[in-house]
């Protein structure tokens, strides 16, 4: 984990959401959405963040973009600590990091044309000339495969895949170097999904973008990522280079995930471990390992103390003492 071209490093990141009840909305408890998350994203590389719904993976994406204030931990972008910057101090970092979303219907303002949506980013970085902006919008739209003549159309006139492309063009408008991709292909049809994945790959190769690729689909993550982090209930359970993780999964949860993924050739990626039950709620979780309730290997120690990261080899970390 000691390479020089680390673009973004997150250490011990935590975010708890209060649960409020009653007439005066008093806090009655906390949802531990993100509970101590560490990872690095390298220049022009992709970190895949995979997990089931409610594991906090989208919250991580929003935390590193500072769209949510982290409760604890540090976000270091290009060796500058941006954790506690105010919204004004963040302005120069805003154009460094961008986000694209899952839902192609909700990600564009229905009252703005495609061109206006992309232009918002250019305005935000202070591009003054109106014609200059228009010209750049055309370039950006063409870059993502939307005919520039469509700039004056409204979102409802585009298909899901086209809207996703416009969302990407909007993110590219400020020339970022890191993009958080929050399930960018999950809502798309298979044939469109491949187009968007290819587009993201091409853009990465050409513009040297780093991606935090959030997805629940192991097939997509396996294709896109250089490193993979497996999340469960706010914790990263295993963190390894893609091939290492897929070939030698160590954590029982990773193993179970891999064996649950159906593959087109009929055989799952791994076989053997099947999980019973479902992801418990992150509301006031019990102490110890987050996975204890569903883990076939769970013992007393897992229920008592929090399990730390064990470093198997240089790049492979796992949060389970049983498999070390």
């Amino acid at each position: 984990m000691t390479t020089n071209n680390i673009m973004l490093r997150s250490t011990g990141l935590k975010k708890y959401f209060p649960v409020r009840r009653g007439f005066l909305q008093r806090v009655v408890g906390w949802i531990k959405a993100v509970d101590g998350v560490d990872f690095d994203i390298e220049q022009a590389k992709t970190l895949g963040l995979v997990g089931e719904s409610g594991c906090g993976k989208s919250t991580v994406g929003r935390l590193i973009l500072k769209l949510l204030e982290p409760d604890e931990g540090k976000i270091i972008y290009k060796s500058k600590d941006i954790t506690h910057l105010s919204q004004n101090e963040l302005t120069p970092f805003r154009k460094e990091m961008q986000i694209i979303f899952q839902d192609p219907f909700g990600s564009l303002n229905p009252r703005m044309t495609a061109g206006q949506s992309v232009e918002e980013g250019l305005r935000a970085v202070g591009m003054k000339g109106r014609r200059e902006r228009k010209e750049r919008v055309r370039e950006l739209l063409q870059m993502v495969g939307i005919p520039a003549s469509a700039a004056d159309r409204f979102p409802h006139e585009f298909s899901g895949g086209q809207r996703q492309r416009i969302g990407i063009a909007r993110a590219l408008s400020v020339e970022p170097s890191l993009i958080v991709c929050d399930e960018p292909v999950s809502a798309l049809d298979v044939s469109i999904q491949a187009q968007i994945i290819n587009l993201l790959k091409e853009l990465q190769a050409r513009l040297g973008l780093g991606y935090l690729f959030i997805s629940h689909d192991l097939n997509v993550v396996g294709y896109m990522s250089d490193m993979v982090a497996v999340m469960y209930l706010g914790h990263i359970m295993e963190y390894a280079p893609t091939d290492e993780l897929f070939d030698h999964p160590l954590h029982p949860y990773t193993f179970a995930l891999l064996s649950a993924v159906p593959a087109a050739n009929g055989t799952p990626l791994k076989q053997g471990l099947e999980l019973r039950g479902e992801v418990p709620s992150a509301f006031n979780p019990p102490p110890g390992c987050k996975f204890q309730a569903r883990c076939p290997l769970a013992e007393d120690r897992c229920r008592r103390t929090e399990i730390p990261f064990y470093e198997i080899n240089q790049n492979h970390l796992v949060r389970c003492w049983k498999v070390v």
Partner: protein, 386 residues
Amino acid sequence: MNTDKKEFAAFPEEEALVPSRSRAQEFFRLLNKNRLAFAGLAIFILFFLTAVAGLVLTSGTKPVLDPALVRLPEKLRPPLSRPNLQVLRPEQIPRLGIYLLGTDDLGRDVFARMLQGAWVSLTVGFVAVGISVVVGIFMGGIAGYFGQEQIRADRILVLILLFLGIGLAFLAHPSLGILLFALGICLWILCGRAKLRLEGSPWARFLFAETISVDTLIMRLVDIMLCFPSFFLILTVVALLPASIYNIMIVIGLTSWMGTTRFVRAEFLSLREQDFVTAAKALGVSKWRIIFRHMIPNAMAPVLVSATIGIATAILTEAGLSFLGFGVPPPHATWGNILSDGKRFIFDAPWLTFEPGLAILIVVLSFNLFGEGLRDILNPKLRERY
């Protein structure tokens, strides 16, 4: 950058786009399908033109149609009757040469009075709803966007002092009011100064404790406002204030913003979680641009619908107030006071009650129909269909 185009064109550039249809075209297509709403809109436009014509024709020192001209010999003439030219002085002869809607108990031309009243109804409807929409959007927007901010105890204290001060200054004790107001401002400045020095002391813990969120405060205020039967609240306020058409508009407006607030808050709460708002934040778009460019336009549809129906309610409220004698002061005609004056002659001169009654009915009904139709038209679920 022109080379980009080639490199990224792994797919044909001209993809099939859905046939283009602008928002306005869509609007009129759906309006056309909804006949009742269309009728509502047509009557509304007619009403608007009548009211403007009424303003032009009945105002000034020598109006074309004088609503206040008393012709005692010609009282209680039925509609469409011709004036008796023998008993009238030349300047008393109605310009139209006919009493289109009859005359009242003082021989005043009801047609002229109805025209004058139309302008009153129109302005009351629009100004009152305008006030309620502005207040509603403001309060709802704050509750929806800044709702989770906690208010500190000292701020609440300051707020109470300021409001009490303003209230007293205008209504009862000017001097005491101004004193309280000044005290509030002093406290505000003092608390701001003292915050650092008092850090950690029990005083600070009390003064700077976070009490309730903005959202809770505003929504409880809405709940309290909704507890009052608003018509009687208006009656009370009108009884305290000098009777004038503007006071009535303001009072109606200030007692009917709660619905809009709730709509806007609900819309803002859901819009705030929408991805395009998150995207705008991530791009570094300013807070105010997000609110005005991204959120308010998307929250306007339900507001527009409720405003349309709100205009009808405001017209009814004004008519009701005038009917009870709390409305616009007498020499000025409104539909409500024509109705009120006419009720004494309901058997001798039924047109005096039927004409304003019918006018109110038609206008209110047309607004309601148009509002209902607008609700359907602006409903995105109906819009996306083939």
